[in-house]
Symmetry: C2
Subunit: 430 residues, 2 copies
């Protein structure tokens, strides 16, 4: 790699709204990985990128440089096509749990590398770790073997994929530069492209509980990511989905596993079923399989069979009782009427404070903690009926969860509730 670049020149160029060349970007990521560019220099560059932007070519080069900082996986030896899903994160978003076995049951392999949660959004690995015995860490060879045999794997991303992203993400987190669309898009897509999936469906969440609070921003992020995937030869589609209210009726680790198993058993909340099936259809089509209806595989138990095999293969006992929190508290409705709003962010923060999430990455989570909903927007409620149940092992946490929930819902005696569509938009390369 040429050393004919200087970090300050590159920062100044972006500061002054110039385009960075592919060579400058490749050098920047490599030099940052090697420690030649210091954290304070990357922080200044990240702020300049946040405020001045990058164009599609720059973001594509930035993503390629992040991929080049680590290893790439290769699933081309598998006997079936691959498809993966990524969600930008929300409250009660357990969709990966029923989705991966469902898509596998329809003939497409799902290599799902997941992470742990931070802040008010839960992490897929935290949820699965509520299952007694289940292990998140697999070797690349074990992952391939399980994919071939069972068709689905959900495991921890190794440190080898896009290591530059790991360092950059930690830096952005403390420097107010998380919210830069070019950096969000390249962070997500570098890991997904390095992972080697053939097709990718993005679930870009919009609303209070999501990272993107409005549809315009979410649409820009979706288009940027679909462009990056397409440029890298991955068939990529994005759905924009509502995250103004929690998905399903649970937010919390074991609580969400329980709800996912209900969906795999053919039941479960309507919104979780709707989104699971819609994402499965997109993944199947993107992987070239358009003659299978995933709703059938959910109804006839094939998805549940794959789930059981997938959990067992990673040491988990799919029949074991799930952990339950030691203490619960109920919150009841204060009036008769229609529930018109139940805020996703506030429910997410309450679940986090009850012990379901972590503030720092070294914190432990409680498997049983979280929030259970007894009504969703649009439901008619009666004064005194249970609205929410709070679960925790540490009852001193209840009071801060109650604070988080202050003003989180509205019960209307007058006007009708106008439901928001769950799937708001679809972005594809065409």
């Amino acid at each position: 790699m040429s050393e004919n670049f200087d970090a300050v020149d590159i920062i100044r160029a972006k500061r002054d709204r110039h385009e960075l060349s592919g060579e400058q970007i490749a050098w920047t990521i490599d030099a940052y990985t090697r420690g030649v560019i210091a954290d304070e220099q990357m922080a200044a560059l990240a702020m300049a990128i946040l405020l001045n932007g990058m164009d599609r070519r720059e973001i594509s080069d930035w993503t390629a440089a992040m991929i080049a900082s680590g290893e790439r996986m290769d699933f081309s030896a598998l006997s079936r096509p691959t498809a993966d899903k990524h969600s930008t994160g929300g409250v009660g978003d357990k969709i990966t749990l029923p989705l991966a076995p469902l898509v596998a049951a329809c003939g497409v392999a799902v290599p799902q590398l997941s992470g742990r949660g931070l802040g008010h959004t839960g992490g897929t690995l935290d949820k699965l770790e509520a299952i007694p015995g289940w292990q998140a860490d697999l070797s690349n060879q074990d992952m391939l073997t399980q994919l071939e045999a069972i068709g689905a794997v959900i495991c921890a991303a190794g440190a080898g994929l896009a290591p530059a992203d790991k360092r950059l993400y930690a830096l952005r987190d403390v420097t107010g530069t998380v919210e830069a669309i070019p950096l969000i898009a390249s962070s997500i897509m570098s890991k997904k492209i390095a992972e080697g999936t053939g097709a990718l469906v993005l679930d870009v969440k919009v609303g209070s509980g999501a990272f993107m609070k409005d549809a315009a921003q979410a649409g820009e992020l979706a288009r940027t990511m679909v462009g990056l995937g397409t440029d890298a030869g991955v068939r990529t589609v994005a759905l924009l989905t509502d995250m103004s209210t929690p998905l399903g009726l649970t937010a919390g680790n074991a609580l969400e596993v329980r709800e996912s198993v209900e969906v795999l058993a053919g039941g479960g909340p309507a919104d979780v079923v709707e989104l699971t099936v819609a994402l499965a259809r997109e993944m199947l089509v993107a992987a070239g399989v358009d003659d299978v209806d995933p709703a059938d595989a959910l109804a006839d138990g094939r998805a549940m069979d794959v789930w059981r095999a997938m959990i067992s293969a990673q040491g988990g006992d799919p029949e074991a009782a799930l952990p339950v929190a030691q203490e619960t508290q109920q919150i009841t409705a204060g009036a008769d009427g229609v529930l018109t709003r139940l805020d996703a962010l506030q429910v997410g923060v309450a679940a986090w404070r009850l012990g379901a999430g972590r503030a720092r990455k070294e914190d432990l989570v409680q498997a049983g903690a979280g929030v259970e909903l007894h009504a969703k927007p649009g439901d008619t409620v009666t004064a005194g009926q249970p609205l929410l149940t709070l679960h925790t092992d540490t009852p001193e946490r209840f009071s801060r969860a109650h604070e988080a929930l202050d003003g989180a819902w509205e019960i209307s005696t007058a006007g009708a509730h106008v439901p928001t569509p769950l799937i708001m938009d679809r972005v594809s390369a065409d």
Copy 2:
């Protein structure tokens, strides 16, 4: 100091173009000094300030917080008023050397805390250190004693004045955030206000050899600094002066001392004399002395007497021969005509490369190195006559100095030369 602030919230506020409160700014500077705010966080904030700006109240609070990070000096016990001058830096800018004794000779004390040079602009202390025996470091008590006895002192700023600025400046230097007018203005003014001068004249340079390349930017910087000084009770005036061509006929340490002594002896280049007298008049008026003409004190040798006393008081021998470089090379005019341009930046870089300046603050400078000019824009030259003489102790440096000078001047056989006025504008609080 309240700990109810969070660095990321403050970075985000400025990133999103919000105004920072006085409490937020005071906490930020204090927390940075104590290491609670990390360098990468301050780098992101500095970039946000550079791109989104600060208003006058914010800059004033930022400056006050920098002053509060260290000690303040107090010259109120002196029997005469005080005035100081600050130049934003240029090529051949030796004005402080004749100016400080000249103003002292007119009855106003000059407590000039100076720095060393970095890059293509020379430092006042580097120049004076070319005088055998002269010492830059004085205790606060020695400084006061010398000011009372002689009326002028030029010495190194102690580490105690605005220590937050020192750390912040080093950070800005490596993060592409030097060029933020709020940060430049508060950096300069925090040290000058903490120094305790009663009046201050700013020489804001404009042109290729200056930090500010155009008059609009320089005017904004001048107005910002005059506002800060005025708000802090320091009578402050700024002159905008031309730095498209070097000041005087020398750029280099001993070379500039020699030229300064010529000015004190009643001779010297016209531009150096003009600017020295103009700045002296501003300093005298700002200090409340309006019945003395500094041109007289220059002509009758009183300024030279103060110079000799000032140099001797700091261990220097004003009669000693100045160091001379071991090697010289002459550059001659290639044609007959009028010299219409001689670029300040290119001459400054050549002098730096010859050994007069430093690239890093731990580098040593050569006392004898530099560039001597034999003609200035507007002068008629003849093919073959000397145009420049390069001086260095290390002749292997000549070739890179020649490179720096490529295209640095123009000799016109046709059109007339239109001289730029040396003093371009004046900014005061009224």
